[in-house]
Amino acid sequence: MARLAWLRVVLGGAGVVLLSWGAWLMVGLDLSDLLEIGAWWAGGVLVHDFVLAPLAILVWYVVARRLPVWARAPFAATVVVLGTLTLAVLPTLGRFGAKAGDPYLLNRSYLAWWFVVAAVLVLVAAGWALSARRSAGRRTQAP
Protein backbone atom coordinates (compact mmCIF):
# COMPACT_ATOMS: atom_id res chain seq x y z
CA MET A 1 0.00 0.00 0.00
CA ALA A 2 2.93 2.30 0.71
CA ARG A 3 4.06 2.01 -2.91
CA LEU A 4 0.63 3.03 -4.14
CA ALA A 5 0.66 6.05 -1.84
CA TRP A 6 4.03 7.14 -3.21
CA LEU A 7 2.84 6.70 -6.76
CA ARG A 8 -0.18 8.86 -6.00
CA VAL A 9 1.99 11.63 -4.58
CA VAL A 10 4.37 11.55 -7.56
CA LEU A 11 1.53 11.46 -10.10
CA GLY A 12 -0.38 14.18 -8.29
CA GLY A 13 2.72 16.40 -8.20
CA ALA A 14 3.44 15.81 -11.90
CA GLY A 15 -0.19 16.60 -12.74
CA VAL A 16 -0.07 19.86 -10.81
CA VAL A 17 3.13 20.87 -12.63
CA LEU A 18 1.60 20.14 -16.08
CA LEU A 19 -1.60 21.89 -15.07
CA SER A 20 0.28 24.95 -13.82
CA TRP A 21 2.16 25.23 -17.09
CA GLY A 22 -1.17 25.11 -18.95
CA ALA A 23 -2.59 27.76 -16.62
CA TRP A 24 0.50 29.93 -17.19
CA LEU A 25 0.07 29.63 -20.97
CA MET A 26 -3.60 30.56 -20.62
CA VAL A 27 -2.82 33.59 -18.46
CA GLY A 28 -0.74 34.80 -21.42
CA LEU A 29 -3.83 34.93 -23.63
CA ASP A 30 -5.92 38.09 -24.00
CA LEU A 31 -8.80 38.65 -21.59
CA SER A 32 -11.29 38.61 -24.47
CA ASP A 33 -9.90 35.19 -25.53
CA LEU A 34 -10.26 33.88 -21.99
CA LEU A 35 -13.85 35.06 -21.70
CA GLU A 36 -14.75 33.30 -24.93
CA ILE A 37 -12.87 30.14 -23.95
CA GLY A 38 -14.66 30.17 -20.59
CA ALA A 39 -18.01 30.39 -22.36
CA TRP A 40 -17.09 27.41 -24.57
CA TRP A 41 -15.92 25.37 -21.58
CA ALA A 42 -19.15 26.04 -19.73
CA GLY A 43 -21.17 25.41 -22.88
CA GLY A 44 -19.57 22.00 -23.44
CA VAL A 45 -20.32 20.88 -19.89
CA LEU A 46 -23.89 22.22 -20.02
CA VAL A 47 -24.59 20.51 -23.34
CA HIS A 48 -23.33 17.21 -21.96
CA ASP A 49 -24.80 17.32 -18.46
CA PHE A 50 -28.16 18.86 -19.28
CA VAL A 51 -28.83 17.75 -22.86
CA LEU A 52 -26.91 14.65 -23.95
CA ALA A 53 -26.91 12.72 -20.66
CA PRO A 54 -30.62 13.27 -19.91
CA LEU A 55 -31.38 12.45 -23.56
CA ALA A 56 -29.65 9.07 -23.18
CA ILE A 57 -31.79 8.32 -20.11
CA LEU A 58 -34.93 9.51 -21.89
CA VAL A 59 -34.25 7.28 -24.92
CA TRP A 60 -33.88 4.32 -22.58
CA TYR A 61 -37.11 4.99 -20.65
CA VAL A 62 -39.27 6.18 -23.53
CA VAL A 63 -38.14 3.90 -26.36
CA ALA A 64 -35.98 0.99 -25.25
CA ARG A 65 -38.15 -0.14 -22.33
CA ARG A 66 -41.14 -0.46 -24.66
CA LEU A 67 -39.26 -2.76 -27.02
CA PRO A 68 -39.39 -6.53 -26.56
CA VAL A 69 -36.56 -7.68 -24.31
CA TRP A 70 -34.62 -9.37 -27.15
CA ALA A 71 -34.48 -6.06 -29.07
CA ARG A 72 -33.23 -3.84 -26.23
CA ALA A 73 -29.50 -4.57 -26.30
CA PRO A 74 -29.24 -4.28 -30.12
CA PHE A 75 -31.21 -1.03 -29.93
CA ALA A 76 -28.98 0.41 -27.18
CA ALA A 77 -25.81 -0.57 -29.05
CA THR A 78 -27.08 1.08 -32.25
CA VAL A 79 -27.87 4.29 -30.35
CA VAL A 80 -24.37 4.34 -28.81
CA VAL A 81 -22.55 3.67 -32.09
CA LEU A 82 -24.64 5.89 -34.35
CA GLY A 83 -25.02 8.65 -31.75
CA THR A 84 -21.32 8.97 -30.92
CA LEU A 85 -20.26 8.54 -34.56
CA THR A 86 -22.66 11.30 -35.58
CA LEU A 87 -21.26 13.66 -32.93
CA ALA A 88 -17.71 12.82 -34.00
CA VAL A 89 -18.37 13.81 -37.62
CA LEU A 90 -20.91 16.59 -36.97
CA PRO A 91 -18.74 19.43 -38.37
CA THR A 92 -18.23 17.35 -41.52
CA LEU A 93 -21.90 16.41 -41.86
CA GLY A 94 -22.96 20.03 -41.53
CA ARG A 95 -20.21 21.17 -43.96
CA PHE A 96 -19.92 24.28 -41.77
CA GLY A 97 -16.35 24.98 -42.88
CA ALA A 98 -17.02 24.71 -46.66
CA LYS A 99 -15.53 27.57 -48.66
CA ALA A 100 -16.40 28.67 -52.17
CA GLY A 101 -12.72 28.89 -53.17
CA ASP A 102 -11.78 25.36 -52.08
CA PRO A 103 -13.30 22.65 -54.29
CA TYR A 104 -11.65 19.76 -52.40
CA LEU A 105 -12.79 20.72 -48.91
CA LEU A 106 -15.95 19.06 -47.56
CA ASN A 107 -16.96 18.03 -51.05
CA ARG A 108 -18.71 14.68 -50.55
CA SER A 109 -22.41 13.91 -50.06
CA TYR A 110 -21.89 13.33 -46.36
CA LEU A 111 -25.57 13.34 -45.43
CA ALA A 112 -26.35 10.64 -48.01
CA TRP A 113 -23.45 8.57 -46.66
CA TRP A 114 -24.75 9.07 -43.12
CA PHE A 115 -28.03 7.41 -44.15
CA VAL A 116 -26.09 4.54 -45.74
CA VAL A 117 -24.07 4.05 -42.52
CA ALA A 118 -27.24 4.28 -40.40
CA ALA A 119 -28.99 1.73 -42.63
CA VAL A 120 -26.08 -0.73 -42.37
CA LEU A 121 -26.00 -0.35 -38.57
CA VAL A 122 -29.76 -0.88 -38.32
CA LEU A 123 -29.50 -4.02 -40.49
CA VAL A 124 -26.73 -5.43 -38.31
CA ALA A 125 -28.78 -4.66 -35.17
CA ALA A 126 -31.87 -6.27 -36.71
CA GLY A 127 -29.88 -9.44 -37.41
CA TRP A 128 -28.62 -9.44 -33.82
CA ALA A 129 -32.15 -8.88 -32.45
CA LEU A 130 -33.64 -11.69 -34.55
CA SER A 131 -31.00 -14.18 -33.47
CA ALA A 132 -31.53 -13.07 -29.84
CA ARG A 133 -35.24 -13.71 -30.27
CA ARG A 134 -34.64 -17.15 -31.73
CA SER A 135 -32.33 -18.18 -28.89
CA ALA A 136 -34.78 -16.71 -26.33
CA GLY A 137 -37.50 -18.85 -27.94
CA ARG A 138 -35.31 -21.97 -27.76
CA ARG A 139 -34.63 -21.33 -24.08
CA THR A 140 -38.33 -21.10 -23.23
CA GLN A 141 -39.10 -24.29 -25.22
CA ALA A 142 -36.35 -26.27 -23.52
CA PRO A 143 -37.65 -28.72 -20.87
Binding site: L4, L7, R8, V9, L11, A14, G15, V16, L18, L19, W21, G22, A23, L25, M26, L29, S32, D33, L35, E36, I37, W40, W41, A42, G44, V45, H48, D49, L52, A53, W60, R65, R72, A73, A76, A77, V80, V81, G83, T84, L85, L87, A88, V89, P91, T92, L93, G94, F96, G97, K99, G101, D102, Y104, L105, L106, N107, R108, W114, V116
Partner: protein, 382 residues
Protein backbone atom coordinates in the same frame (compact mmCIF):
# COMPACT_ATOMS: atom_id res chain seq x y z
CA UNK B 1 -42.16 26.57 -6.02
CA UNK B 2 -41.99 22.85 -6.30
CA UNK B 3 -43.94 20.36 -8.35
CA UNK B 4 -45.10 17.42 -6.23
CA UNK B 5 -43.23 14.26 -7.18
CA UNK B 6 -40.53 16.21 -9.06
CA UNK B 7 -37.17 16.85 -7.42
CA UNK B 8 -33.53 17.10 -8.34
CA UNK B 9 -32.31 13.53 -8.79
CA UNK B 10 -29.85 12.07 -6.33
CA UNK B 11 -26.90 9.86 -7.13
CA UNK B 12 -28.83 6.69 -6.25
CA UNK B 13 -31.66 7.58 -8.67
CA UNK B 14 -29.30 7.43 -11.63
CA UNK B 15 -27.17 4.50 -10.61
CA UNK B 16 -27.57 1.55 -12.95
CA UNK B 17 -25.62 -1.64 -13.11
CA UNK B 18 -23.85 -0.32 -16.22
CA UNK B 19 -22.58 2.83 -14.53
CA UNK B 20 -19.91 1.05 -12.54
CA UNK B 21 -16.26 1.80 -11.73
CA UNK B 22 -15.23 -1.41 -13.53
CA UNK B 23 -16.64 0.07 -16.77
CA UNK B 24 -15.36 3.61 -16.11
CA UNK B 25 -11.82 2.38 -15.38
CA UNK B 26 -11.62 0.25 -18.53
CA UNK B 27 -12.94 2.96 -20.86
CA UNK B 28 -10.79 5.44 -18.94
CA UNK B 29 -7.58 3.61 -19.77
CA UNK B 30 -8.28 3.78 -23.51
CA UNK B 31 -9.35 7.40 -23.21
CA UNK B 32 -6.18 8.26 -21.29
CA UNK B 33 -4.08 6.48 -23.90
CA UNK B 34 -5.72 8.41 -26.74
CA UNK B 35 -5.35 11.73 -24.89
CA UNK B 36 -1.71 10.90 -24.20
CA UNK B 37 -0.92 10.12 -27.85
CA UNK B 38 -2.79 13.21 -29.02
CA UNK B 39 -0.87 15.31 -26.47
CA UNK B 40 2.58 14.07 -27.54
CA UNK B 41 1.90 14.30 -31.29
CA UNK B 42 0.34 17.72 -30.69
CA UNK B 43 3.48 18.92 -28.88
CA UNK B 44 5.58 17.74 -31.84
CA UNK B 45 3.38 19.57 -34.33
CA UNK B 46 3.45 22.71 -32.20
CA UNK B 47 7.25 22.56 -31.93
CA UNK B 48 7.51 22.35 -35.73
CA UNK B 49 5.34 25.44 -36.11
CA UNK B 50 6.82 27.49 -33.25
CA UNK B 51 10.25 25.91 -32.77
CA UNK B 52 11.98 26.48 -29.43
CA UNK B 53 15.71 27.19 -29.67
CA UNK B 54 16.84 23.68 -28.73
CA UNK B 55 14.54 21.95 -31.19
CA UNK B 56 15.85 20.22 -34.34
CA UNK B 57 13.07 19.06 -36.68
CA UNK B 58 13.26 15.41 -37.75
CA UNK B 59 13.37 14.84 -41.50
CA UNK B 60 13.50 11.01 -41.63
CA UNK B 61 11.48 9.00 -42.23
CA UNK B 62 10.03 11.51 -44.70
CA UNK B 63 6.52 10.55 -43.59
CA UNK B 64 7.18 11.29 -39.90
CA UNK B 65 4.86 14.29 -39.79
CA UNK B 66 2.24 12.54 -41.93
CA UNK B 67 2.31 9.75 -39.36
CA UNK B 68 2.38 11.87 -36.21
CA UNK B 69 -0.33 14.29 -37.33
CA UNK B 70 -2.51 11.49 -38.71
CA UNK B 71 -2.21 9.84 -35.31
CA UNK B 72 -3.06 13.14 -33.60
CA UNK B 73 -6.25 13.54 -35.61
CA UNK B 74 -7.36 9.91 -35.42
CA UNK B 75 -6.79 9.53 -31.67
CA UNK B 76 -8.80 12.74 -31.24
CA UNK B 77 -11.68 11.24 -33.23
CA UNK B 78 -11.43 7.98 -31.24
CA UNK B 79 -11.90 10.04 -28.06
CA UNK B 80 -15.48 11.03 -28.91
CA UNK B 81 -17.20 7.68 -28.14
CA UNK B 82 -14.71 6.93 -25.33
CA UNK B 83 -15.27 10.30 -23.64
CA UNK B 84 -19.05 10.11 -23.94
CA UNK B 85 -19.26 6.59 -22.51
CA UNK B 86 -16.78 7.49 -19.75
CA UNK B 87 -19.00 10.43 -18.78
CA UNK B 88 -22.06 8.17 -18.99
CA UNK B 89 -20.47 5.72 -16.56
CA UNK B 90 -19.78 8.41 -13.94
CA UNK B 91 -22.78 10.70 -14.55
CA UNK B 92 -24.58 9.86 -11.24
CA UNK B 93 -21.58 11.32 -9.36
CA UNK B 94 -22.68 14.70 -10.70
CA UNK B 95 -25.67 14.51 -8.34
CA UNK B 96 -23.78 13.66 -5.15
CA UNK B 97 -24.97 16.07 -2.46
CA UNK B 98 -22.16 18.13 -0.92
CA UNK B 99 -21.46 17.40 2.79
CA UNK B 100 -22.65 20.85 3.90
CA UNK B 101 -22.31 20.16 7.65
CA UNK B 102 -18.66 19.13 7.75
CA UNK B 103 -16.20 21.88 6.81
CA UNK B 104 -13.18 19.62 6.21
CA UNK B 105 -15.18 17.16 4.13
CA UNK B 106 -16.66 20.09 2.25
CA UNK B 107 -13.19 21.38 1.35
CA UNK B 108 -12.08 17.98 0.02
CA UNK B 109 -15.37 17.58 -1.81
CA UNK B 110 -14.98 21.02 -3.37
CA UNK B 111 -11.42 20.27 -4.47
CA UNK B 112 -12.42 17.00 -6.07
CA UNK B 113 -15.46 18.54 -7.74
CA UNK B 114 -13.37 21.44 -9.01
CA UNK B 115 -10.62 19.27 -10.45
CA UNK B 116 -13.12 16.97 -12.18
CA UNK B 117 -15.09 19.93 -13.51
CA UNK B 118 -11.88 21.36 -14.94
CA UNK B 119 -10.93 18.03 -16.54
CA UNK B 120 -14.37 17.50 -18.07
CA UNK B 121 -14.73 21.07 -19.36
CA UNK B 122 -11.22 21.17 -20.82
CA UNK B 123 -11.48 17.67 -22.33
CA UNK B 124 -14.80 18.36 -24.07
CA UNK B 125 -13.44 21.66 -25.36
CA UNK B 126 -10.23 20.08 -26.61
CA UNK B 127 -11.96 17.32 -28.55
CA UNK B 128 -14.69 19.59 -29.93
CA UNK B 129 -12.34 22.39 -31.01
CA UNK B 130 -9.97 19.91 -32.66
CA UNK B 131 -12.82 18.31 -34.61
CA UNK B 132 -14.08 21.71 -35.75
CA UNK B 133 -10.59 22.70 -36.87
CA UNK B 134 -10.11 19.46 -38.81
CA UNK B 135 -12.99 20.48 -41.05
CA UNK B 136 -11.77 24.09 -41.12
CA UNK B 137 -14.81 25.29 -39.21
CA UNK B 138 -14.11 28.14 -36.81
CA UNK B 139 -17.33 28.83 -34.91
CA UNK B 140 -15.51 30.90 -32.27
CA UNK B 141 -15.07 34.62 -32.80
CA UNK B 142 -12.14 35.81 -30.73
CA UNK B 143 -9.56 33.23 -29.67
CA UNK B 144 -6.89 31.78 -31.94
CA UNK B 145 -7.24 28.04 -32.42
CA UNK B 146 -3.60 27.07 -32.28
CA UNK B 147 -2.46 28.90 -29.14
CA UNK B 148 -5.68 27.95 -27.33
CA UNK B 149 -5.64 24.27 -28.33
CA UNK B 150 -1.99 24.17 -27.23
CA UNK B 151 -2.54 25.79 -23.81
CA UNK B 152 -5.67 23.75 -23.06
CA UNK B 153 -3.79 20.53 -23.96
CA UNK B 154 -1.55 21.08 -20.90
CA UNK B 155 -4.60 21.76 -18.74
CA UNK B 156 -6.29 18.55 -19.94
CA UNK B 157 -3.24 16.35 -19.44
CA UNK B 158 -2.37 17.97 -16.09
CA UNK B 159 -5.86 17.55 -14.67
CA UNK B 160 -6.01 14.03 -16.13
CA UNK B 161 -2.83 13.01 -14.30
CA UNK B 162 -4.17 14.56 -11.06
CA UNK B 163 -7.43 12.66 -11.61
CA UNK B 164 -5.55 9.37 -12.05
CA UNK B 165 -3.59 10.07 -8.84
CA UNK B 166 -6.79 10.74 -6.90
CA UNK B 167 -8.61 7.70 -8.31
CA UNK B 168 -5.70 5.23 -8.23
CA UNK B 169 -7.18 3.06 -5.44
CA UNK B 170 -10.55 2.94 -7.26
CA UNK B 171 -8.80 2.05 -10.53
CA UNK B 172 -6.83 -0.71 -8.82
CA UNK B 173 -9.92 -2.23 -7.27
CA UNK B 174 -11.77 -1.94 -10.59
CA UNK B 175 -9.07 -3.84 -12.44
CA UNK B 176 -8.63 -6.44 -9.72
CA UNK B 177 -12.24 -7.55 -10.34
CA UNK B 178 -13.78 -8.85 -13.56
CA UNK B 179 -15.81 -6.19 -15.35
CA UNK B 180 -19.11 -7.91 -14.49
CA UNK B 181 -18.47 -8.19 -10.74
CA UNK B 182 -21.67 -7.34 -8.90
CA UNK B 183 -23.52 -6.81 -12.19
CA UNK B 184 -27.26 -7.23 -11.95
CA UNK B 185 -29.11 -8.84 -14.79
CA UNK B 186 -30.62 -6.16 -16.99
CA UNK B 187 -32.66 -6.33 -20.16
CA UNK B 188 -30.37 -3.97 -22.06
CA UNK B 189 -26.65 -4.08 -22.77
CA UNK B 190 -24.42 -5.89 -20.33
CA UNK B 191 -21.24 -4.19 -19.11
CA UNK B 192 -19.20 -6.31 -21.50
CA UNK B 193 -21.65 -5.41 -24.24
CA UNK B 194 -21.29 -1.70 -23.50
CA UNK B 195 -17.48 -1.92 -23.56
CA UNK B 196 -17.51 -3.81 -26.88
CA UNK B 197 -20.01 -1.33 -28.33
CA UNK B 198 -17.82 1.59 -27.25
CA UNK B 199 -14.70 0.13 -28.88
CA UNK B 200 -16.64 -0.63 -32.07
CA UNK B 201 -17.97 2.96 -32.07
CA UNK B 202 -14.45 4.39 -31.70
CA UNK B 203 -13.11 2.08 -34.39
CA UNK B 204 -15.89 2.97 -36.82
CA UNK B 205 -15.50 6.70 -36.16
CA UNK B 206 -11.77 6.42 -36.91
CA UNK B 207 -12.36 4.31 -40.05
CA UNK B 208 -14.97 6.73 -41.35
CA UNK B 209 -12.48 9.63 -41.42
CA UNK B 210 -9.10 7.90 -41.74
CA UNK B 211 -8.88 7.95 -45.56
CA UNK B 212 -7.31 11.40 -45.47
CA UNK B 213 -4.41 10.10 -43.38
CA UNK B 214 -4.30 6.46 -44.50
CA UNK B 215 -4.92 6.44 -48.27
CA UNK B 216 -5.70 2.69 -48.30
CA UNK B 217 -8.83 3.37 -46.25
CA UNK B 218 -10.12 5.99 -48.67
CA UNK B 219 -12.93 3.74 -49.94
CA UNK B 220 -14.51 3.28 -46.52
CA UNK B 221 -13.81 6.75 -45.18
CA UNK B 222 -17.09 8.32 -46.15
CA UNK B 223 -16.71 11.29 -43.78
CA UNK B 224 -13.29 12.40 -45.01
CA UNK B 225 -12.99 16.19 -45.00
CA UNK B 226 -10.72 16.52 -48.03
CA UNK B 227 -11.49 14.42 -51.02
CA UNK B 228 -9.64 14.59 -54.31
CA UNK B 229 -11.48 12.53 -56.93
CA UNK B 230 -9.04 10.01 -58.41
CA UNK B 231 -6.41 10.65 -55.72
CA UNK B 232 -3.65 13.26 -56.04
CA UNK B 233 -2.49 16.04 -53.79
CA UNK B 234 -5.30 18.13 -52.26
CA UNK B 235 -5.19 21.91 -52.29
CA UNK B 236 -5.93 23.74 -49.08
CA UNK B 237 -5.79 27.27 -50.45
CA UNK B 238 -6.29 28.18 -54.08
CA UNK B 239 -4.39 31.01 -55.78
CA UNK B 240 -7.60 33.00 -56.06
CA UNK B 241 -8.36 32.74 -52.33
CA UNK B 242 -4.76 33.67 -51.52
CA UNK B 243 -4.98 36.63 -53.92
CA UNK B 244 -1.72 35.79 -55.71
CA UNK B 245 -2.94 35.08 -59.25
CA UNK B 246 -1.60 38.33 -60.75
CA UNK B 247 1.80 38.16 -59.03
CA UNK B 248 2.28 34.45 -59.74
CA UNK B 249 1.46 34.69 -63.44
CA UNK B 250 3.43 37.93 -64.00
CA UNK B 251 5.80 37.28 -66.98
CA UNK B 252 8.47 39.27 -65.15
CA UNK B 253 8.43 36.83 -62.18
CA UNK B 254 11.75 36.25 -60.44
CA UNK B 255 12.66 34.31 -57.30
CA UNK B 256 14.94 36.38 -55.07
CA UNK B 257 17.66 34.48 -53.17
CA UNK B 258 19.55 36.50 -50.56
CA UNK B 259 22.24 36.19 -47.91
CA UNK B 260 23.41 39.32 -46.09
CA UNK B 261 23.91 41.98 -48.76
CA UNK B 262 24.24 39.39 -51.54
CA UNK B 263 21.15 38.85 -53.69
CA UNK B 264 20.37 37.15 -56.99
CA UNK B 265 17.10 37.04 -58.91
CA UNK B 266 16.28 33.82 -60.72
CA UNK B 267 13.75 33.49 -63.54
CA UNK B 268 12.01 30.15 -64.11
CA UNK B 269 14.45 29.59 -67.00
CA UNK B 270 17.38 30.14 -64.60
CA UNK B 271 15.89 27.58 -62.20
CA UNK B 272 15.43 25.09 -65.06
CA UNK B 273 19.16 25.30 -65.87
CA UNK B 274 20.17 24.19 -62.38
CA UNK B 275 20.43 20.42 -61.64
CA UNK B 276 16.90 18.95 -61.46
CA UNK B 277 15.79 16.14 -59.17
CA UNK B 278 12.49 14.31 -58.66
CA UNK B 279 11.61 13.05 -55.20
CA UNK B 280 8.51 11.35 -53.81
CA UNK B 281 7.43 13.29 -50.74
CA UNK B 282 4.20 13.51 -48.77
CA UNK B 283 2.44 16.74 -48.00
CA UNK B 284 0.71 16.45 -44.65
CA UNK B 285 -1.66 19.02 -43.27
CA UNK B 286 -2.20 19.96 -39.63
CA UNK B 287 -5.86 19.05 -40.18
CA UNK B 288 -4.87 15.41 -40.50
CA UNK B 289 -4.99 14.68 -44.23
CA UNK B 290 -1.96 13.87 -46.31
CA UNK B 291 -1.01 12.76 -49.81
CA UNK B 292 2.22 11.91 -51.61
CA UNK B 293 3.42 13.30 -54.90
CA UNK B 294 6.46 13.15 -57.18
CA UNK B 295 7.95 16.59 -56.87
CA UNK B 296 10.47 17.90 -59.44
CA UNK B 297 12.70 20.89 -58.89
CA UNK B 298 15.98 22.24 -57.61
CA UNK B 299 17.49 21.31 -54.26
CA UNK B 300 17.35 24.27 -51.89
CA UNK B 301 20.94 23.53 -50.82
CA UNK B 302 22.06 24.05 -54.44
CA UNK B 303 20.72 27.64 -54.41
CA UNK B 304 22.60 28.80 -51.32
CA UNK B 305 26.10 28.89 -52.92
CA UNK B 306 24.73 31.37 -55.52
CA UNK B 307 24.72 34.03 -52.77
CA UNK B 308 27.68 32.66 -50.82
CA UNK B 309 25.59 31.30 -47.93
CA UNK B 310 27.37 28.51 -46.04
CA UNK B 311 25.90 25.01 -46.07
CA UNK B 312 23.56 24.45 -43.13
CA UNK B 313 22.26 28.03 -43.05
CA UNK B 314 18.69 28.46 -41.89
CA UNK B 315 16.41 29.85 -44.60
CA UNK B 316 13.35 32.10 -44.46
CA UNK B 317 10.97 31.35 -47.34
CA UNK B 318 8.48 34.08 -48.20
CA UNK B 319 5.46 33.73 -50.44
CA UNK B 320 4.10 36.15 -53.00
CA UNK B 321 0.92 35.95 -50.93
CA UNK B 322 0.65 39.17 -48.95
CA UNK B 323 -1.98 38.47 -46.27
CA UNK B 324 -2.56 35.42 -44.15
CA UNK B 325 -1.08 33.58 -41.19
CA UNK B 326 1.33 31.44 -43.23
CA UNK B 327 2.87 33.78 -45.82
CA UNK B 328 6.39 32.75 -44.83
CA UNK B 329 8.11 29.85 -43.10
CA UNK B 330 11.50 29.21 -41.58
CA UNK B 331 13.63 26.18 -42.35
CA UNK B 332 16.09 25.10 -39.70
CA UNK B 333 19.65 24.56 -40.96
CA UNK B 334 19.30 20.78 -41.11
CA UNK B 335 16.05 21.01 -43.10
CA UNK B 336 17.37 23.62 -45.56
CA UNK B 337 20.48 21.49 -46.13
CA UNK B 338 18.51 18.25 -46.60
CA UNK B 339 18.94 16.77 -50.12
CA UNK B 340 15.18 16.13 -50.21
CA UNK B 341 14.25 19.78 -49.59
CA UNK B 342 13.22 21.17 -52.96
CA UNK B 343 12.16 24.35 -54.63
CA UNK B 344 9.64 22.48 -56.72
CA UNK B 345 8.45 23.52 -60.18
CA UNK B 346 6.69 20.28 -61.10
CA UNK B 347 4.33 17.73 -59.54
CA UNK B 348 3.61 14.20 -60.83
CA UNK B 349 5.33 14.85 -64.17
CA UNK B 350 3.41 18.06 -64.89
CA UNK B 351 4.47 21.67 -64.39
CA UNK B 352 3.25 22.94 -61.03
CA UNK B 353 -0.32 24.24 -61.32
CA UNK B 354 -1.21 27.70 -60.09
CA UNK B 355 -3.16 26.27 -57.12
CA UNK B 356 -0.26 24.01 -56.14
CA UNK B 357 2.09 27.02 -55.99
CA UNK B 358 3.25 27.98 -59.52
CA UNK B 359 5.84 29.33 -60.34
CA UNK B 360 7.62 27.41 -57.56
CA UNK B 361 7.01 26.19 -54.02
CA UNK B 362 8.82 24.68 -51.11
CA UNK B 363 8.55 20.97 -50.35
CA UNK B 364 10.59 19.41 -47.57
CA UNK B 365 10.43 16.13 -45.64
CA UNK B 366 8.64 15.98 -42.28
CA UNK B 367 7.01 19.42 -42.23
CA UNK B 368 3.40 20.51 -41.71
CA UNK B 369 1.71 21.43 -45.00
CA UNK B 370 1.18 25.04 -43.90
CA UNK B 371 4.96 25.47 -43.81
CA UNK B 372 5.46 24.11 -47.36
CA UNK B 373 5.28 27.68 -48.65
CA UNK B 374 3.62 28.09 -52.05
CA UNK B 375 4.15 30.83 -54.69
CA UNK B 376 7.70 31.47 -53.47
CA UNK B 377 8.90 35.05 -53.87
CA UNK B 378 12.03 35.16 -51.74
CA UNK B 379 14.48 32.84 -50.01
CA UNK B 380 16.70 34.43 -47.43
CA UNK B 381 19.55 32.53 -45.80
CA UNK B 382 20.47 33.62 -42.28
Amino acid sequence: MSVPGLRIPEEADLRTTLRSPTVAARVGVWLGLCFGIAFLTGLYSHALQSPPGWFTPLTRPVWIYQFSQGLHYLTGVACVPLLLVKLYAVYPRFFVRPPWQDRRAMLLHGLERGSIGLLVAAAIFQVASGLANSSQWYPWLVFSFRSTHYAVAWVVVGSLVVHIAVKLPVIRTAFAAPVDEGEEKSSGLSRRGLLRTTYVASGLAVLSVAGGSVPRLRRVSVFENHYVPGGGVPINKTARVAGVTAAATDPGYVLAVAFGDQEVELTLADLAELPQVTERLPIACVEGWSASGDWTGVRLRDLLPLVGAPAGSAVLATSLQEDGPYTSSELAGNVADDPLTLVATGLDGEPLSLDHGFPCRLIAPGRPGVLQTKWLGRLEAT
